[in-house]
């Protein structure tokens, strides 16, 4: 198999589009959540300004090598996840670096950034960071279980581990989507999705704007800016997986934007309605509600 060098600039173009889309989308969803609270919310371009400001700070300090590598791991988790799954189905240009067994790699990449972050935040030595990391890892681990079960169910259903093939099998109308053909797997996957989007009721890890901000407590300037970049890319990359596995993929950028927005809105709507779970509550919730659905999806496929 020969490697085509044109794939590199094409993948970078995908990355660029997704970064900008992610920055605007997260701001838009924050605005929508603010409207639910009768506020105006941040300006739509606020994420760009925050990024620019954080890159433009004049000082930064380090706590050691892992502290440097934490945000780098986090970002490579997001970028890797995006680059190894096909973004636009049927487009040679935006199929990125996907290959036959990419589904397993994608599952790995979803977890990768969290682990890197745990090491980096652990080295910062701040107790809030350590608490945040232990909360985050336990919650992500519990949320990962139903996703893994749903993915296995989908892989069994289509007899393949290639995301491209799974998308191909779902073409030809809504009736062919996994949403219709294997609804239990989709429900398990979406339960897991709620848990991994860092929105209420599963946002105790970051607990935004309260005393413990969690793992990034000690991160600032460029380190924080790297993590903000990832916060724009990673959710979109994750939703690309969901879109490809469950909702028929996207054959154009317009379809991509619409589907990603709607998938994001699932967690945003749940987030503005439900209050926050404590960690042990959320783990119990995943084990009692999401995992049995995932097991049923595997048994009934």
């Amino acid at each position: 198999m020969t490697f085509e060098w044109i794939k590199i600039p094409q993948s970078l173009l995908t990355l660029f589009i997704v970064l900008n889309y992610g920055l605007l989308l997260t701001a838009l969803v924050q605005k929508i959540a603010a409207r639910a609270g009768r506020r105006h919310g941040i300006p739509i371009w606020q994420n760009y300004v925050d990024l620019l400001k954080n890159y433009g700070l004049r000082t930064n300090i380090t706590h050691g090598v892992m502290y440097y590598l934490g945000p780098v791991f986090r970002l490579s988790g997001g970028v890797g996840l995006l680059l190894f799954v096909p973004t636009i189905y049927g487009s040679e240009m935006f199929s990125n670096l996907s290959f036959a067994g990419d589904l397993i790699l994608a599952l790995y990449f979803i977890f990768f950034g969290t682990l890197g972050m745990a090491l980096g935040a652990g080295e910062s030595g701040h107790p809030h960071a350590a608490i945040g990391v232990s909360r985050g890892l336990s919650q992500v681990t519990a949320a990962e279980l139903p996703l893994a079960l749903a993915v296995f169910s989908v892989a069994l259903q289509y007899h393949t581990l290639s995301v491209t093939d799974i998308v191909a099998a779902q073409q030809g109308g809504v009736a062919h989507w996994t949403l219709v053909t294997n609804p239990l797997a989709v429900v398990a996957g979406m339960f897991s999705f709620l848990g991994s989007m860092m929105r209420s009721p599963f946002d105790v890890v970051l607990a935004p704007q309260e005393i413990p901000i969690g793992p990034p407590t000690e991160y600032h300037s460029s380190y924080l800016a790297l993590m903000q970049t990832n916060r724009a890319i990673f959710p979109v990359a994750k939703m690309v997986i969901y879109m490809n596995l469950f909702f028929g993929g996207a054959s154009s950028w317009a379809e991509f934007c619409l589907k990603i927005f709607l998938i994001y809105m699932v967690s945003a709507l749940v987030g503005v309605v439900f209050p926050r779970f404590r960690v042990e509550q959320s783990i119990r919730w995943f084990l009692t509600w999401a995992v049995p659905v995932g097991v049923a999806a595997i048994l009934l496929v």
């Binding site: 603010a34 609270g37 009768r38 506020r39 105006h40 919310g41 941040i42 300006p43 606020q46 300004v49 925050d50 620019l52 400001k53 433009g56 700070l57 004049r58 000082t59 930064n60 300090i61 380090t62 706590h63 809030h128 704007q209 309260e210 005393i211 413990p212 901000i213 990034p216 407590t217 000690e218 991160y219 600032h220 300037s221 924080l224």
Partner: protein
């Protein structure tokens, strides 16, 4: 302003803060110095802006449009910041957000009177913020002591201890006044005059002497990031 009277701490250092040798569970002996900062105890330096004026102007614009406030209410004025987060005033519209850690914040709102005990924590928090950083004094207490002018335990002029960019006077000022103060701060930053961090670094000895004159139990590093 006398500078020569007090530098020595008048209160003895607490036992748990003294330098000592500790024996670990594996029998390994090591030295612990709680007051020493292991990461950075170097003096702050004046950090010039970007070499190109157009780049620095762009950064200044971004800094002015992305003010992250340290969520640290020092006095009664902290109650005036809550309406700013909620629908009535909604400061998020203006790019103002609250951060729970000094590392990520770049605006310190000293909300009202500052007792000497709190001043200690304020100084540590301020020094942990990254350059450039800004200070807004909220309420008359930060200007001249306000109604606490003859208190035995509060500082009178905030400007002697930290470089203040904007004062918002009143007792208490309404949230609107605070918003107007933030807009004024934005103008100052965009004009390239929000250089409090560099001012602090330049006049570091003067600020430290002032701080140590009122804080008698100085049991922390002289500068810690």
């Amino acid at each position: 302003m006398q500078q020569d009277d007090v530098v020595e701490p008048r209160v003895p250092v607490k036992d748990e803060l003294k330098k000592r040798t500790v024996k670990g569970p594996d029998g390994f002996e090591f030295e612990v110095d709680p007051i020493h900062d292991y990461y950075c105890d170097a003096r702050p330096e004046v950090r010039p802006g970007s070499y190109l004026k157009i780049v620095e102007d762009l950064f200044n614009w971004a800094r002015s449009e992305s003010l992250w406030i340290l969520g640290f209410g020092t006095g009664c004025g902290a109650i005036e910041m809550r309406p700013l987060m909620t629908p009535r005033f909604d400061a998020y519209r203006y790019g103002i957000q609250w951060r729970p850690t000094p590392r990520q914040a770049n605006l310190f709102v000293i909300s009202g009177y500052l007792s000497v005990k709190t001043l200690k924590r304020v100084i540590r928090s301020y020094e942990q913020m990254q350059n450039p950083k800004y200070v807004v004094g909220l309420g008359s207490c930060t200007v001249n002591g306000g109604m606490y002018w003859d208190s035995y335990n509060t500082i009178k002029k905030l400007d002697e201890y930290l470089p203040v960019d904007v004062y918002v006077t009143g007792c208490m000022p309404r949230p609107e006044a605070l918003l107007a103060g933030f807009e004024e701060l934005k103008r100052i930053i965009r004009a390239g005059k929000g250089e409090g961090a560099n001012l602090y670094a330049k006049n570091f000895d003067w600020y430290k002497a002032n701080q140590k004159r009122v804080i008698h139990d100085w049991d922390m590093p002289d500068y810690n990031w």
